[in-house]
Amino acid sequence: MNSKKLSRRDFLRMSGVATAGSILAACAPAGGNSASSSADDAPSSEPVELSLSIVDFVDNTKEVLESEIFPGYEDATITVNYTAWNRYNEEMTTAFAGGVTPDLFQGGAVWAPQMAKRGWSLALDDYIAGSGDWGWDDWFPALQEDATIDGKVVAIPYRFDIRSLWYRTDLLADAGFDAPPTNWEELREIAKATTQRDGDKITVEGLHYSGPGGWQNDLQPYMYFMEMADGTFLSDDLSTCTLDSDPCIEAMEYIHQLIVEDQVQPYPGFENQGDLAPIVAGTAAMTFSSTHPERIAKQYAPDVLDNLQVTLPLSHHVQATHVWINKWFISSLSKQPDQTWDLLTYMTSVENQEKYSASGQYQPPRQSLGDAEYLTERAKILFNSTNFARPYPKHWRLIELFRPFAQELELCLSGQKSPAETMTATCEAINAILAEDA
């Protein structure tokens, strides 16, 4: 037998060719999603693979999903990418740009208009119409409205985050108040009275409006006041900024009074002590928040719970508060939209929605879950606040529109600009962005 010795050079050459071939093969366009295409062609008895991106979870949620909810769904194999909010936008953007997306994914409060505008979410009206007793009517009307873009339902809310006024009964009692405020006048009076100082230094904030850190920290609480003043961020047709209208300026003037004139908190306000928000740590008498203070108090400071209460939204021109609504979207690139819808209805059925919401102590989007056992008395007050809820305007560039407002708010609350100047400058900047798209 004629054996030939492989020289070092030949070996290197072959390795080089093999590597180059591998790279070319790896770079070649895929012949299609094998899992999906096989699923399309496969007999119906074969299980289908569905992929999910989940960003709203705590450890307990993950456990509930994997041990109680997913095992009950036998029509598909479910793979989940658990991710985090701080990288989620980039992940989804690159996923859609690359054409490989999860079938079902969660999205934040401002995502629905973006998803609809980009054509990334599937319209669900036909599915909802044929969904039998699944019960879309059970969702709060404000939540349904928020998920409807240009007359089409593009998402299904799974959680909402409603903020109302939390207060410390002990700190209010120390200042001579036995009931929480119900309107702006009372709020200002109590905030001033409960602010404690050591010389010039504030030691207890009468009202914790915002803390240091994130760029939306000042903007989010402004929304409650704007909505109580019956103002809006944009005109109804979303073409013009309305923050320079009288109600919006009135709201800004009120906040300016509280922070710059009355100094019921330093600016920026107190930071969290680790996970303890100032109201839980006892360094703030009142604040606007979701169920977060109670969750944290239960976990880290149970002795505080007796003094921690929440009230229904305050009134000014109207009784209102802001709601953040997180939603499920079915990807427009899903190869199995029908099966994905089936999974979505399964996950948001009354029983499974309750399990999911209870796992993280989230507010459930279904009205019928108002009596759910896991909801505490405080959580029920927040749940009922949903009747006064106003969501964000549905402009697809909302995050970009927020930015100039956030910058101007910083200038106003640090005393460098008057409220009227702030709102005028904000609207100029926002209208310039809106004009670009127009």
Partner: protein
């Protein structure tokens, strides 16, 4: 009579005819082909990962690309936006402040620390390790550590300042302090890496130079300043150039600690690129900003070379 005869024709050398197939076969079997083959792999990767994106970025900077609409050519509009919008001009300014704040001070400190740790002092290996530690620490961990150090109410820095009667400062929330605070973290994080480079260079300084300086009566710091530092000029140039480029690309700290705030005082070019690309899906404008970033790096690098390169 002599007969002149023509020189005999020179003997023609017979060159064997080689077919083109044989030429190719030889070439394929030669070392040159092997070299090209191996070069092809990194060049292929380099082209698709580095070179192609740069040219594609140039192209995108003249479009309104937003991932989901058809690409539309918009001429110089994105560049006009970059130079006319206050937010972008602030980003350029902040980037330059950041570089000017961190590079000279950081380089000087690294050089001084390297000079000190080049001396035969006790425990210098431990000191070198401690100075180098931040370099191998993840930027996320560094950011968390400094977030606690800078915490207005619970931070060790304010506590220490309080002991000498200085009131609490909002290090990361005060528009006047946020950028300098990031500069300090950047210097802390990079000092060790530059120190190692300088240490290596210091060990190449000929002993004769030290001896000659000593004979001329130079004191220790004079020797360092007038003999050692000029000798290290090429290394200083290297550190300054790579340091400047590193700061222009600094993203992690801003993302984790300030997100461009307060009042846009830490809004740098690279953060603005990120915001436009992933926050607003304005890839055209983000590309134009990236081109401005590239151009600014070229200018800064050129200036560094002009100032620091060795005289002929």
């Amino acid at each position: 009579m002599s007969t002149l005869t023509a020189d005999p024709k020179p003997q023609a050398t017979t060159i064997p005819q080689v077919s083109w197939q044989e030429k190719i076969r030889r070439w394929l079997g030669g070392e040159t082909f092997t070299a090209y083959l191996f070069l092809a792999i990194p060049l292929f990767i380099l082209f698709f990962i580095k070179i192609y994106p740069v040219f594609y970025n140039v192209f995108l900077s003249f479009t309104n690309y937003d991932l989901f609409s058809p690409i539309k050519f918009v001429g110089l509009k994105n560049y006009q936006d970059v130079v006319s919008q206050d937010v972008n001009l602030k980003a350029i300014r902040n980037t330059l402040y950041f570089t000017i704040g961190a590079v000279p001070l950081g380089t000087a400190l690294a050089l001084i620390v390297a000079g000190l740790l080049n001396q035969p002092i006790r425990g210098r290996v431990i000191f070198r390790f401690l100075f180098y530690l931040p370099v191998i620490t993840s930027v996320v961990v560094s950011a968390m550590i400094w977030q606690w150090i800078y915490s207005p109410q619970f931070g060790v820095l304010n506590y220490a300042l309080g002991l000498v009667g200085i009131p609490e400062q909002n290090w990361l929330s005060d528009p006047n302090l946020a950028l300098p605070s990031l500069v300090v973290i950047t210097i802390w994080g990079s000092l060790g890496g530059h120190m190692i480079i300088f240490l290596a260079a210091l060990q190449d300084v000929p002993a004769e130079l030290h001896e000659a300086a000593a004979i001329d009566g130079a004191k220790g710091w004079q020797t360092f300043l007038y003999v050692v530092v000029p000798f290290l000029r090429p290394v200083i140039l290297f550190v300054v150039v790579t340091y400047s480029i590193g700061i222009f690309r600094n993203f992690g700290l801003i993302f984790l600690l300030t997100q461009g705030g307060p009042q846009l005082t830490t809004n740098t070019l690279v953060w603005e690129v990120y915001q436009n690309a992933f926050g607003y899906l304005r890839f055209g404008r983000a590309s134009a900003l990236a081109m401005v970033l590239l151009f600014t790096i070229f200018v800064i690098t050129y200036l560094n070379f002009r100032i620091l390169r060795e005289e002929d």
